[in-house]
C-alpha cells in the first residue's frame, strides 16, 4: 500500500497538478511539495504527491554504481 509511483508534472494549477507516466495522466494534489515545477519527477501516492524525486541524486547513485564521474553540466 505504500507504493508511490514516480510521475512527471506536466501542468500546475494552484495546489492541483497534472502528472504523467507512460501516457497516463492524473490530477494530483501537491500540498506537500515546497516548490514543485513543471518537469519535476514526483512520487504519487493515493492522489497526493509525497516527494519530489531529486534527479541529480538519482544520477549520482547510478554514476557511482557504473563507476563513472558524473558531470552535472
Amino acid at each position: 500500500m505504500c507504493l508511490a509511483i514516480p510521475m512527471r508534472i506536466t501542468q500546475i494549477d494552484g495546489l492541483v497538478a497534472t502528472a504523467e507516466i507512460d501516457g497516463i495522466a492524473r490530477r494530483v494534489r501537491i500540498d506537500l511539495l515546497d516548490k514543485a515545477s513543471v518537469g519535476d519527477y514526483v512520487l504519487i501516492h493515493a492522489g497526493l504527491a509525497i516527494a519530489i524525486v531529486d534527479e541529480q541524486e538519482a544520477a549520482e547513485t547510478l554514476a557511482l554504481l557504473r563507476g563513472v564521474f558524473y558531470e552535472t553540466q
Binding site: 500500500m1 505504500c2 507504493l3 493515493a46 492522489g47 531529486d54 534527479e55 547513485t61
Partner: protein, 363 residues
C-alpha cells in the same frame, strides 16, 4: 528510459549481487519492514542473489495485514447500516472479517466503493449529501497525509457526511515494540522508503543509538534494495549500527515539513491495535477534537459498542507479521488458505508476505 527502469538495470543488479557476494560466510537476518519491499523482493527474485547465510524476512509493514480483526469487524458493522456508503482502498475489499467481508457485504446490497484517493471519497460525499460516506483509514505515514488532506478539504467545504474510521498505524513505535520482544532476532532492518519521505530518516535514530540495530532506508527497485542490503551488511561486518539512507533521491533526514504540519493539524497521536502485535502505545493516530464531526468512531459509537469480539482462527498471520513464522510454516498456507480463498489478510493483500510467497516462491 523511465527513471525507475534505470534502477532495474540488470547489469547493475549483477554488479551489486557480486559486491554483496563478498559477505558470504556472514550470518545475518534482515527484516524488510515494508510490505511493498516484500513484494519487490519476491517479484525480482532478490533472495536468490544473496549469500546463503543472509536471509530476508517479512515484517509488519503491510497495512491491510496489520489491521486488527476488531477494526475490520467494526467497519463492516458500519457498512451494514442503512444510508451508509463505504469507501476504501481496493486492498481491503476481500479481507475476511469474523462473519463477512466488504466483497460479500457489497454482494448483499451494501454500497461499497473502491477509491484511488480519499479526496475522491469527499467528492462522493459532496455529491450525495443524504448518505454518510465512511472512508476506511488504513495505512502508515505514507498514507496518513492523504487522509489528513481529505478531512481538511471536507471540513473546509462543510462536507459533514464525509467520515473516517481511523485505523492508521505509525512505523517507528511499532518497530520499538517489535524489537523489545525476545522472540525476534534480526541483524538489520530495511526501512520503508516512502514512509520515510514523510517522517525523515532521523525518526529511526533510536534503533541504532539505543537498540544497536543497524538499518538502511530503501527504495523499491532492485538496485535500491540491494544497495540497502549492502549497507546493512557492511555495518554488521564493521560491528557498528547506523541509519543509512540508500534512497537519497527521495528521502532526507528531516521530515517533510508540510506533511508534519498537516498531520499535526488533523490528527493526534493515539494507541493502536495491531494484528499479531496487540495494542502499541503511541503507534496510531485519531482525529483531533476540531475534526470530531468527521470521526466515524464517534458518529457510530452505539453500533460499534455492539460489535461482538472477533472470531478466533488458527491463521498464523500474527506470527508472520512479527517475523517469527515463515508463510510456508503455517498449516493453512497453500492448502486451506490461497489467494482465491484466503483465511488471513497476509494472503489477501497483494503485498502480504503469504501472497508474495504463494505467487513467486510456490507452495
Amino acid at each position: 528510459m523511465r527513471l525507475s527502469d534505470e534502477f532495474r538495470d540488470p547489469a547493475l543488479v549483477r554488479e551489486l549481487a557480486e559486491r554483496i557476494g563478498r559477505f558470504s560466510g556472514m550470518s545475518a537476518t534482515i527484516m524488510e519492514v515494508c510490505g511493498t519491499h516484500t513484494m519487490s523482493v519476491a517479484r525480482f527474485g532478490l533472495k536468490s542473489l544473496l549469500p546463503p547465510g543472509v536471509s530476508l524476512i517479512s515484517g509488519p509493514g503491510c497495512p491491510v495485514c496489520v489491521t486488527d480483526q476488531r477494526d475490520i469487524d467494526a467497519y463492516l458493522a458500519i457498512g451494514a447500516l442503512p444510508g451508509v456508503t463505504l469507501a476504501c482502498f481496493g486492498d481491503m475489499i476481500r479481507v475476511p472479517g469474523s462473519a463477512t467481508s466488504l466483497e460479500r457485504l457489497r454482494a448483499e446490497g451494501a454500497d461499497v466503493r473502491v477509491v484511488y484517493s480519499p479526496i475522491d471519497a469527499v467528492d462522493t460525499a459532496r455529491g450525495d449529501p443524504g448518505r454518510q460516506v465512511v472512508f476506511f483509514g488504513v495505512g502508515f505515514e505514507t498514507t496518513i497525509p492523504a487522509i489528513a488532506l481529505a478531512v481538511k478539504v471536507a471540513a473546509e467545504g462543510k462536507v459533514s457526511n464525509f467520515l473516517v474510521y481511523c485505523a492508521h498505524k505509525t512505523i517507528p513505535a511499532a518497530l520499538r515494540a517489535l524489537l523489545a520482544t525476545d522472540e525476534l532476532r534480526v541483524s538489520g532492518l530495511l526501512l520503508p522508503g516512502h514512509v520515510t519521505t514523510i517522517i525523515g530518516s532521523g525518526a529511526y535514530s533510536f534503533l541504532a543509538d539505543q537498540l544497536g540495530v543497524t538499518c538502511a532506508v530503501a527504495g523499491f527497485e532492485p538496485v535500491d534494495i540491494l544497495l540497502a542490503v549492502e549497507a546493512i551488511l557492511a555495518r554488521i561486518e564493521q560491528g557498528t549500527a547506523a541509519i543509512d539512507n540508500a534512497y537519497p533521491r527521495a528521502v532526507r533526514a528531516e521530515p517533510n515539513p508540510r506533511a508534519a504540519e498537516l498531520i499535526d493539524e488533523v490528527f493526534v497521536t493515539s494507541d493502536a491495535l495491531w494484528r499479531g502485535l496487540g495494542s502499541i502505545p503511541g503507534s496510531g493516530v485519531a482525529l483531533a477534537a476540531k475534526y470530531a464531526v468527521h470521526d466515524a468512531s464517534l458518529r457510530f459509537a452505539d453500533t460499534l459498542a455492539a460489535v461482538p469480539p472477533p472470531k478466533q482462527t488458527t491463521c498464523k498471520c500474527g506470527d508472520v507479521l512479527r517475523g517469527i513464522t515463515r508463510p510456508s510454516q503455517c498449516p493453512h498456507f497453500g492448502t486451506t488458505c490461497t489467494p482465491t480463498d484466503p483465511i488471513g489478510p497476509c494472503m489477501v493483500s497483494s503485498e502480504g508476505a503469504c501472497a508474495a510467497a504463494y505467487k513467486y516462491e510456490g507452495v
